[in-house]
Symmetry: C2
Subunit: 467 residues, 2 copies
Amino acid sequence: MKRIFVTLTLILVSLLTGCQTGLHRKTASDDVVEQLQQLALSSDLAWQILASLTSEVGPRMGGSESDGRAVIWAVDKMHSMGFDRVWTEPVTFPRWVRNNESAEVLAPAAQRLMVTALGGSPSTGGPIDAEVIQFDSLEDLQAASIEDVTGKIVFLSTRMRKSREGSGYGETVVNRSRGPFEAAKKGASALLIRSVGTDRDRLPHTGMMSGSEPGPRVPSAAMSNPDADNLMIMLSREEPVNVRLNLDVGFEGEATSYNVIGEFDGSEDLTERFLLGAHLDSWDLGTGAVDDGAGVAIVLATAKLISNLSVRPRYGTRVVLYANEEQGIYGGKAYAKLHQLNMHDHLIGAESDLGADRIYGFKTRVLPQAEATIENLARHLKRLGIKREDTEPAGGGADVGQMRKLGMAVIDLNQDASLYFDLHHTANDTLAKVNPEFLRQNLAAWVTLVYLTTSGSGTFGPVEPSD
Amino acid sequence: MKRIFVTLTLILVSLLTGCQTGLHRKTASDDVVEQLQQLALSSDLAWQILASLTSEVGPRMGGSESDGRAVIWAVDKMHSMGFDRVWTEPVTFPRWVRNNESAEVLAPAAQRLMVTALGGSPSTGGPIDAEVIQFDSLEDLQAASIEDVTGKIVFLSTRMRKSREGSGYGETVVNRSRGPFEAAKKGASALLIRSVGTDRDRLPHTGMMSGSEPGPRVPSAAMSNPDADNLMIMLSREEPVNVRLNLDVGFEGEATSYNVIGEFDGSEDLTERFLLGAHLDSWDLGTGAVDDGAGVAIVLATAKLISNLSVRPRYGTRVVLYANEEQGIYGGKAYAKLHQLNMHDHLIGAESDLGADRIYGFKTRVLPQAEATIENLARHLKRLGIKREDTEPAGGGADVGQMRKLGMAVIDLNQDASLYFDLHHTANDTLAKVNPEFLRQNLAAWVTLVYLTTSGSGTFGPVEPSD
């Protein structure tokens, strides 16, 4: 009796599944994808990798001692995971160091401010004491007279907007990237910005100022949102507000780090590979769990799950853990330069570098003849709550975008960034902020993407190079 | 036409109000309470006071330079608010100072830990390097052998439970209050506790160790929840975990601060007054907006709104801003001692010291003959979403509880503490965490309480003294 009931239930489920998928006839590939997704949704592999990275290495700022340890960790991890080959490629860049940083209001009433120097900032060379002049935006600073600003500490108070796409970042990050140069043009002694972040925690957000801007820059730091609020209340009164800023930071020669690369071969002897990436470095304040430990964990676990299949897909997968993304996308640029003559060896590329929240959509930049594969991908990602987005072509991300510029086909899996900028580049970027369930959803999406793209005919690019 | 409509609406509203209040006939006092509540619910007075305190003084640890400025701020504020008389009463206590504090994992892999010394901790006298031994609870430490613990850094990993009543605090704060003494008994070199807090931010919670515990104590610090999580992952592996702890803190002679007291007289010449309080000091890490700037703002604004009535209530109100509650309830104890022979001059007492979230309930410890007044109070507080709780008698709070011990009648307005222990004693205790709407609800409740208790016959105590 029980057996009959089970059988009837199975028939019913099959019929319903048939209805849901419409006219699509289920293939062997569909079965593999569904199995991979189930495996990913119950896997703690990404979490284990992330816990290992954050506890065994922790913060790993490009060029630091712990960055060196991160490279060793990554090579060891790839070996222990059974990658078919593992190697490193050197990446050289100016070494920036953070020794000490502090700020305090001196008048009208003494109070400490929580600040962190912007990457690339010069040292103040001892304390700078100066009056603060506030601007609501970079445009307002640009419109100010040199006479009004000279000798003062400029305070850019623009608040970042929260959104799923993280689009508020682009709107306010100009304060960080270009503010130090604009303040210098006006004769300011230093720059304080409201953190480019959406939280209300007493933890400032660091991040790089522009490396390519010409001209001098002033010593620059970000303060936490609550400190910026407090300073604005002080400035709303009659009296001048004087601040002491002390940044013992700056460039010290050059450093060499490494892109860490591992490959799993496909089932056929084909040159082209999926270029799967994330960046290994982090800022120095948190443990880099969300930025970009999660990406590292997701791409390593993805490659591993695919490699474990009894029959691997036709094409192989190359995982690149890029060096020093944070201070100027050094790893991605070095990879693009070294491999520029072999761009056609990359079937398609993608990276995971927007945290660890759920993936809600995907975009592509591929040849039209790949449409059938992309349609199939969309069908399988839908099951994970992921929609195809056609608003604009994929960008590839910071590192992989360097290869897109050379014509490599790219695809973006877009993560919900609503909470990402609460943590981004702060001490709060730690393992506790990663939801294991969301990490598994990411893994399921990535195995789907890599499996389906490496199993087919392989025609995704080259596409029109774009900047 | 419009006028008729308005009149009809008013009649309808009156009828409905009549239905809702049942058989109660509306009195002149009811009108005053409703007007006071409306005034409070649209008042930004408490917010303005709080913004002033946090921006013009900021952190104000008992015995520090800024604590002195806080006393001057409070005296000035009371004068400017038109209190009928303002004075201070000295409060002397051991001065504890925090100069520098840091911790880092040395092995198996170097990583910084975010720590803050516990108040009352002795200095480490330079760095202590030792192996960490973890215990899930204080009981487990107490059960351990001296041999296992000697020379090690004890890590108490108990996690605090979140609840509306804040009852998780009492369960875990023993780690902070008694841990330093228990660790010393076992021969430990130092103590690290998981912060007594419910957040997942990278900001450790400070707070006092017990002042009355006999015997030696070890240098002690709290680490943030994410750091405790990270350390537990490290400890879950085979290898020993070594930590360096460096606390440059300790007691340095004595300090004198002040209870700041202001009074508004009532309409009659009566000796008894409502004893309304909050504590003026804060910890040094945040700006003390929530603990207890909000309380300071609420009680000052309450007294002011009542004093502005065209006819003041019969009895007056005394506001006491207590000195150094954080390091051992010094202000409350000093007040109780100085005024012990005049306890009967206090009609009833209450304090605001559990943050700035909504008040959801109230409790009393009064004579049975006050029941009619308390019933009336319950009726008016119900309008603000506040229920009478009969689970246990009121405690009065940390400072006012000292007077309860001498037989003074007390009343508690209970705030929702769900989020309070996310911020409590951390750098995150800043103005941005205070919801202006909730602050107004508090103010409405307090004016209701003070008005109704000071308008009546005045028989609330003395009650049975209790510990």
